[in-house]
Amino acid sequence: MGIVRFENIHKIYKMGVEEVKALDGVSLSFEKGSFWAVMGASGSGKSTMMNILGCLDRPTSGQYFLETHDVSKLRDDALSDIRLKYIGFIFQSFNLIPQLTVQKNIELPLYYLGWDAHKSAERARELAERVGLETRLNHRPAELSGGQMQRVAVARSLAADPHIILADEPTGNLDSHTGTQIMELLAKLNTEGTTIIMVTHEPDIAAFAHNRLHMKDGLIDRIEQN
């Protein structure tokens, strides 16, 4: 049984009289420790799927199980808790908080977990070291390059020791060399046991994953193994 399971998930956006079926009955199961690349044309429903996987959004119908939780039934506060404890996000546009230092950005999940300041700082330093940014702890995001910002984002996504990392086009804003560095980082995390689900348009980025899932018009088109 997979760590995440979709059972006939629909996501329908109503725009006046028109309906957009962003997801049109998706069923899938991702195994623990797997590394997936989600691919497909623009508008095929990749981000919509990631948002539901990440408990940021709710499906219009269908069931979503995350480990033992029936997520589709949970209330807003419980969804926040699931995001905090089970899921790490990495975004195309990094999404660091500009007024906070690198250290504070990495500590953010720990703050909401209620860790004390000392322990959080220690953990942030350890994570910064892991992504090679231990010398930049007191910098603000604006003082970093794109690749460095994405490494901070990776460190932040790891802070609470999530079971799953969701990355929506993590290399979309990076050059291919920097993108490869980030992918090597993710691949290493995956070998350490973290489940990774990543959206990408680029075949050589998708090559880092074990499996590829192709979306088309809100449905799974096909699944390939690397």
Binding site: N51, G54, L56, D57, D76, D77, S80, D81, R83, L84, K85, F89, F91, N95, L96, I97, P98, Q99, L108, P109, Y111, Y112, L113, G114, D116, A117, R156, A160
Partner: protein
Amino acid sequence: MSLHQSKLIRNIWLGIENLLLHKLRSFLTMLGVVFGVGSVVAMLAVGEGASKEAMTQIQKLGSNNIIINSTKSLEDDSSNTQNARINIYGLTYFDNERINDTFPHVKKAAPAKLIRKESRLGAQVLELRIVGTTEAWFELVPREVLAGRVFGEKDVEDFANVAVLTEFGARKLLATKNTIGQPIRIGGNSFIVVGIIKSEEGQAGNLQIPDQQVDAYIPLSTVRKSFGDFFMKRAAGSRIREIVELHQIIVQVDDIEDVEPTAAGIERMLQDFHKKKDYELSVPLALLKQAEATKRTFNIVLGSIASISLLVGGIGIMNIMLASVTERTREIGIRRAIGAKRRQIIIQFLIETVVLSTLGGIVGLAMGILIPAIITYFAGMPTVITAKSIIFPLFISVGIGIVFGLYPAINAARVDPIIALRHE
């Protein structure tokens, strides 16, 4: 508990850090609360000072007292065209007795007869303002005895030639402690100085305190025997002849509740026995009530002005916080995606607003303490800062932060993380 506390402190620090990112904006936003709280504190200080001043003045008059003064009636004045006419007016010895005897709640009444006599102590020769009275005076107008003693019932009964100087009179006559026991000549008669008592000065409303500018006291009986009731004054080229028995009667009522009914009773009695209205009743308690009413009005008027400025300050804060929420939509989205609950977003923004308004309150408090100090220094107006006038505005400024910060904070928590993360 300690985890909770340290979390609150961290939240407050986070709020301060965020406010410091926009120093000028935060400062300008604070100004409304600064002026609002400043004016509340200053207003309370001035109001409190004024009422305390009024209270002490009225206390000097005695809050259980009724003061009756003789006045020349108006009809009398206009008909006073002939030089030879003698004016007879004012309170009588009989009035004093009746007040003492008829009113059950009157504890004591002290009659006073005012005379001006040429006096001599040692080498000093002066016209003194002298009050002839009974021992009751010193109970109804209690003043600290600086040296010697005041005269008693026996001195009055015995027509004793004793005089009690006030501090004010003693200074004029260059009298000292050593003067006690020395003779003083008053209007040709010899008296013995038996004591010196403290002088007070002051006024409440249009009522002077009874011992204002009095130089000396001698027994009423002695005044009657030695000088009689007939006065002759020179004024504007003509001679004014008057017969006045008593110039003032101070009445003390046993209970503060009975002051006003007794005053009304005395007034009615005097109306029956006097053909003209040649007396005037003053009730310090009524002045006290009037002072309190004035203070209340003052507080209401200034209070509403202060509330308006606090309201404006609060709206200013709300406006800026709403703008700040829009500006930080993306940050809110990031926090929500990471796992922040709606409640935690509300708390974050609420704390920021409360920190802002409380800082404004503290600066306003400093201003509100400084302004009355300046008023006191330059205008000599008394001002009083009480614990209440410090704590109350601080609570208000925290309250403003909560009231005007709640709506922006709830708006922040309503942000949809998916839309917020797309927000550029």
